[in-house]
Symmetry: C2
């Protein structure tokens, strides 16, 4: 017998979770649309050259690639992935959006505000709560070089999170330009910035001492590292202007944080966090991340990537995006809202498969549906008591037996 | 510069079409749910053994397969797809549903009524209107051996089509059991049935004479073929009982067609069509297809497949499904409804990026959104007249300039 398991690292989604997912997705999409964003869609498959030529960082090691077909497939023992494969599954929605914009620029006015909701694929080592196929909800503003775009994205993402029931989350903001300037000023070489950032990014888990140890292990001078880590910990929105010579970026950062705090009206926090790094190599300006409650993972993240679209389009176009990690919010809301039930009245209508006229049964169900009810039509089984027990556990409001009951009966 | 084209045979979906697609999908999903069906989701990727071991017919020649990764990939010159690949992209939603049911049977009561909406992938030769990645909307009833399931699926699918604006479509019904019995009675061998069906399936395009010619070319006796084709053309619901010895199947077919006609109340047609074949090898009973207007393609199709789930589950479980071809209904509705606009009021709110306070601008936009409006926030450009022209063409109801206009202005 062939295995009925889903592929490794992926999973089947059952009806109860699916209803929650659909409700969340619709609420988020509706907020995004109301804020003037337009949904687009790109194929899950992209050309292998596009994927491998991107600044996807670690994600490029986790590509799912598609074998060439027919005569195009030529196998020899030293064939590489690029020889054998012509496409791959997308690992995020930002790279496809950049390609999309370049491909359709002639029909789109700038700024172009895009919504993307879809699955991305990464061949990660499967572990609890991490899947190889997962959904992201992204909004991006293409063509606005000013931080008005950052403010709009932060406000819109916050309103989507509020709309689905999150309160008291924290939006952390930082700027790659300030990070880069600070690292260089501490005495590190420009080329070493990515490696320094990888170490800094671990501060959450290994603490500043751990970061310092790792940098020393990487071969940097111990005194320089100690001063760098100490000073990084000390940085605040008030003193950052004295530590780096980036007056415009500092002023923009302050404007974004102050404006966003004003708009938050106390429902969520917006803070400067100089330890926020984010992994992607393509960020060029402000970066953001949303943390919530006791959960050790972020529920949303994003940033400015002004140099990506220029790789595919004739001219360089600034862009900034914010992505909600859909699987993570589903996990949290399923834990917090367990037991809540759907709003419209739903019943099971039992009928006698041997005796009843199906045209009459379906027509009667339709009159109930016309009243707004959800009606699940089901033939009675011999063990009717046991059958009823199953539906009593499944969030139905009641049941009827066709031709016998005049009113909806309760399961109680 | 890297190409910005989507992969061959796939396409980018622009905002206007995406809004129509989302509206259609929501309406279909809502009808399905109201009829007691529950949505589930399976991964787009399935194990290669499952895909290659299925009765997918022609679809198996169009598989997209995923290269193994890391140490598991061992290349030699005589490597087969199965050696090189461990997964593939699903080519339909029926096979994944059968696997899903087998994998989750212990938590699901029979009958289980499933909704699946998702993309499937086939490496077809790209041609106009045919894509390598496309969406299907399926409902299936698992665990009901009676034709009540057929009646429910036909009625529910028809109501979904009516809800999205289709009228006067035709639902054709046939039964594989009757087809098989008729073919055998005409003198063909049981093993030849699939090949005869492939020829019969072309009657739409090549006519009965073409079918006869093809069968003779395949080596069958000319007189036998002529009698067979003539008699097949003659078959009706009234005389089918005399032509084959399948009294139960004939009675079931009549019940399904009569009940469905009663429920249709003249809004659509339900007819017996003995020339309806459908390609899949896995059908075991009644099969259906929906045709509409002058379009040469069907907009929905399905049938009973009682033997598939038993390949993955411990026991055999009957099943029947009906699938709406989402891309085809989008194509038709975009042609028919071109120019219709969205229902809620939507405006563009222009602001001065240099002078306005973004907190005030966003807050003002939010008060309009609280009134139910869709507000697209946009910085004024130097060529404001030209900029307004773009939005005037885009279905917005009007615009405002922040701090200047008190009421919404019309583009006219």
């Amino acid at each position: 017998m062939i295995s009925s398991n889903p592929v490794r690292g992926a999973r089947d989604i059952l009806p109860g979770e699916m209803l929650i997912r659909d409700t969340l997705e619709q609420k988020i999409l509706s907020i995004y649309r109301q804020h003037g964003f337009s949904r687009i869609e790109t194929p899950a498959l992209e050309n292998i050259d596009l994927l491998l030529g991107s600044e996807g960082g670690e994600n490029l090691k986790m590509l799912f690639t598609i074998l060439k077909r027919g005569d195009k497939l030529k196998i020899s023992e030293d064939s590489t992935t690029k020889d054998l494969c012509d496409m791959g599954l997308r690992f995020d929605l930002t790279l496809p959006l950049s390609r999309f914009y370049a491909n359709n620029a002639q029909t789109l006015e700038l700024p172009f505000k895009a919504i993307q909701i879809g699955n991305v694929f990464r061949a990660e080592r499967p572990q609890k709560g991490r899947f190889r196929s997962f959904k992201q909800c992204d909004i991006d503003i293409i063509g606005d070089p000013t931080v008005s775009a950052e403010m709009e994205l932060i406000s819109t993402t916050a309103k989507a999170l509020l709309a689905i029931g999150f309160e008291d989350f924290t939006i952390k903001v930082n700027d790659r330009k300030l990070l880069n300037a600070f690292i260089k000023k501490a005495g590190f070489a420009e080329a070493d910035i990515p490696s320094i950032c990888i170490s800094l990014d671990k501060a959450d888990k290994i603490g500043p001492e751990g970061v310092a140890k790792e940098l020393v292990d990487k071969g940097y001078d111990e005194a320089m590292v100690a001063a760098f880590v100490r000073e990084a910990e000390d940085i605040s929105l008030d003193n950052i202007g004295d530590k780096v010579d980036e007056p415009e970026a500092v002023a923009d950062l302050k404007r974004v944080i102050e404006t966003s705090q004003t708009l938050a009206e106390g429902r969520y926090k917006v803070v400067f966090d100089f330890s926020l790094i984010r992994g992607m190599g393509y960020y060029t300006g402000q970066i953001f991340e949303v943390s919530y409650g006791p959960y050790g993972f972020s529920i949303a993240g994003g940033g400015r990537y002004d140099n990506m679209i220029g790789k595919y389009a004739k001219t360089s176009v600034p862009a900034v995006g914010f992505s909600i990690g859909f699987e993570r919010i589903v996990t949290i809301l399923m834990e917090e809202q367990a037991g809540k039930k759907a709003s419209s009245e739903s019943i099971v209508l039992f009928y006698d498969a041997a005796g009843d006229d199906m045209a009459q049964v379906i027509r009667f169900a339709d009159t109930l549906r016309d009243q707004g009810k959800t009606v699940n039509l089901t033939a009675m089984k011999k063990k009717f008591g046991k059958q009823i027990g199953y539906y009593a556990d499944k969030d139905y409001d009641g049941f009827m037996v066709f031709g016998r009951d005049e009113a909806i009966k309760s399961f109680d």
